[in-house]
């Protein structure tokens, strides 16, 4: 069993290692710049650049361990960002100087929490499948984004905020700290707390969890609020630095986040998954993008390669989990 787990959890890191070696070697041959791919600074950037989707993907892990899915995270990300940047222009906010910053963060995070809560409540109270609920709210929330500012980008460039976001504490960028702290927090949640263990139990055998008296509805609600919060956190981290949000920002983030979670080995049916492996999945994707850019692959190749790699990983995972020839052929 431990050996199995080692293969399962180690696979993503092995994949990352392969990517690193491949891009370093290919980069030396193909890249026009003399900088090596495996440059320390570049690796720090890698972590930083993984943050926007990474923070969301980490939250998606607990949702998927539950056996649910959230397709609305991209729209939640955008709406929280709009609230974050727009709130700076509210009259009372302008009056309080830099104190507006934490308040704006609070508004954005609260937005995420509320949007997540709406999803969670609908899933809980109506019993409609999370896929459908969040497919709907993915459209609905995006509509709200457009409604909020009439299709225009929302901008507020606050240099204090940018300076904070660009800070490198102990060498790591602010965004990296948020990513790592989120990962640590969620890892503790999933492995050390009753809520986290219940998440596995529910995803693994919902009936059993219900029979054991775990209140599945509120549990879902909390998790949807959590991912709403994390989508907002991701927006806070990213837009503190960039200061302007287009209404279309965050589209397809849900698909990238799901991809990262699946690459990390979380079961789509729920009940199995790990935060650390999701972090691996996130890094693997960012590495792929970065590396393909580094060796000069063009847009079509990037699309093709990312799509095929996803399928290949799924295929390999299936092969690893086969029971051999004795398997029932159903």
């Amino acid at each position: 069993m431990t050996k199995e787990n080692l293969i399962k959890q180690g696979a993503i890191w092995a994949f990352i290692a392969v990517e690193l070696i491949f891009f370093t070697v290919m980069g030396d041959i193909l890249s026009v710049t003399s900088k090596s791919f495996m440059d320390f600074e570049n690796m720090l950037l890698l972590l930083k650049q993984s943050a926007p989707i990474g923070i969301i993907a980490l939250g998606m892990t607990i949702i998927m361990v539950n056996g649910n899915i959230d397709l609305s995270v991209g729209a939640t990300f955008a709406l929280s960002a709009v609230v974050l940047l727009d709130s700076f222009s509210w009259p009372f906010m302008a009056a309080i100087g830099d104190w507006a910053i934490p308040l704006a963060w609070f508004f954005a995070l609260a937005t995420g929490l509320i949007l997540g809560a709406i999803n969670g409540l609908i899933v809980w109270k109506t019993g409609v499948d999370a896929f459908i609920v969040t497919l709907g709210s993915m459209l609905g929330y995006r509509g709200l984004v457009f409604m909020y500012n009439g299709e225009q980008p929302t901008s507020h460039l606050n240099w204090t905020l940018v300076d904070f976001a660009e800070l490198q504490f102990l060498g790591l960028h602010t965004a990296t700290w948020f990513l790592l702290l989120t990962a640590l927090g969620l890892w503790l949640l999933m492995t050390r707390t009753v809520h986290g263990r219940n998440a596995y139990a529910i995803g693994n055998n919902r009936e059993a969890a219900v029979n054991a008296g775990i209140r599945v509805g509120p549990h879902f609600l909390i998790n949807f609020m959590l991912i709403g919060f994390l989508a907002a956190l991701s927006a806070v981290v990213f837009y503190s630095e960039s200061g302007s949000v287009n209404p279309n920002d965050g589209t397809l983030y849900e698909l990238w986040a799901i991809t990262a979670v699946v690459l990390g080995g979380t079961k789509l049916t729920g009940g199995y998954g790990s935060i650390v492996s999701t972090l691996g999945g996130v890094i693997a994707i960012q590495l792929l993008r970065k590396g393909l850019g580094h060796i000069g692959a063009d847009t079509e190749t990037v699309n093709l390669v990312i799509g095929l790699i996803l399928i290949t990983v799924l295929f390999l995972d299936r092969q690893l989990n086969r029971q051999g020839k004795e398997e029932l052929k159903t």
């Binding site: 960039s242 200061g243 287009n246 279309n248």
Partner: protein
């Protein structure tokens, strides 16, 4: 980054000596969203060709896929790779400003191409090279107004607008230029409604179909580019009302040019992605060469109508 083997060999040969490497300029570009339409694709091709043609230039060509986060990451990567200059086609004219500042702090000159960034960022940018989209919108308003005056309908004409993808600077600026200029030149023309066509011919066709049902009297259509303009034209043709409507677009695409030849489409703004790309690269080279440049390098985007189209070559995209 479609380099030939030859270019690769040249490149590795160039890397043999640092002296040689110092003479070549490494210029990185991060584009908005290649592959989403012909303009951007042609731009990329033209840029690569222009870079390949210049022995002193090595180009790192990247595409943000319309995602601002990815674009910022690419700017950071280019800074980290210590390129000599960075050209940015912004996905969002404001969100890239902090990243541009970083480039400035790292001592790397930045050229903005095609669609400018917001004023707050001007301090960190060496130069802008591209079309003047506000002027384009204004010119489109003039084209339309002149035609109405010629037809004598400028006192009562009703028009609709199909704008580009919501949130994109180019779309916003063109719409603004058009909407501001129209009342100045033709105060009696009414703009009935604007809907986005997302730079997409099919979407634009659907929007136009709905307009046609909703309004019995449409005298003109302004589309944020010809791709959408032709979509609207198709819808009007299907409804048998194309003859009553004056179509004006922007960024003259070959389909638009053909429709003008066929007499179905009145006018547009001539804007060549090849010029756009070459201008951007040249601006970067000039800056690296220490030339003094004006901050705004607009390349000319003239009016094109059925009347003067013979003066222009058919667009290649």
């Amino acid at each position: 980054m479609k380099r030939t083997i030859k270019a690769m060999l040249a490149c590795s040969a160039a890397m043999l000596g640092t002296a040689a490497a110092a003479e070549t300029m490494t210029i990185g570009i991060t584009q908005n969203n290649v592959g989403v339409d012909s303009y951007q694709t042609t731009y990329e091709k033209a840029f690569i060709e222009a870079a390949d043609a210049n022995p002193d230039v090595e180009a790192v060509v990247l595409d943000a896929g319309g995602d601002v986060a990815r674009q910022i990451a690419q700017i950071e990567d280019l800074i980290q790779q210590e390129v000599d200059a960075i050209i940015i086609w912004p996905t969002n004219g404001e969100a890239v400003i902090p990243a541009v500042r970083k480039a400035k702090q790292a001592g790397i000159p930045v050229v903005i191409t095609n669609s400018n960034i917001a004023e707050q960022g001007f301090d960190f940018v060496s130069s802008f090279s591209g079309p003047d989209n506000i002027t384009q919108g204004a010119r489109a308003a003039e084209i339309m107004c002149d035609k109405f005056k010629e037809m004598g309908t400028d006192t009562e004409a009703q028009i609709v607008q199909i704008s580009g993808q919501p949130g994109y600077t180019t779309a916003i600026e063109r719409a603004k230029g058009f909407e501001d200029r129209l009342p100045e030149v033709c105060p009696d023309v009414t703009l009935l409604e604007s809907q986005p066509g997302d730079w997409n011919r099919e979407k634009s066709q659907q929007v136009m179909e709905a307009f046609l049902v909703k309004y019995d009297d449409i005298d003109g259509v302004y589309a944020g580019d010809d791709n959408m303009g032709v979509g609207a034209l198709n819808a009007a043709k299907a409804a048998g009302r194309a003859g009553d409507i004056i179509f004006v677009g922007a960024t003259n695409f070959s389909v638009g040019y053909e429709a003008m030849e066929a007499g179905e489409y009145w006018g547009s703004i001539y804007q060549s992605p090849v010029d756009d790309a070459k201008a951007a690269l040249q601006t970067a080279i000039d800056i690296l060469g220490g030339k003094e440049l004006p901050f705004l390098n607009y390349f000319d985007t003239p009016k094109i109508t059925q009347d003067n189209m013979a003066e222009f070559d058919k667009p290649v995209f």
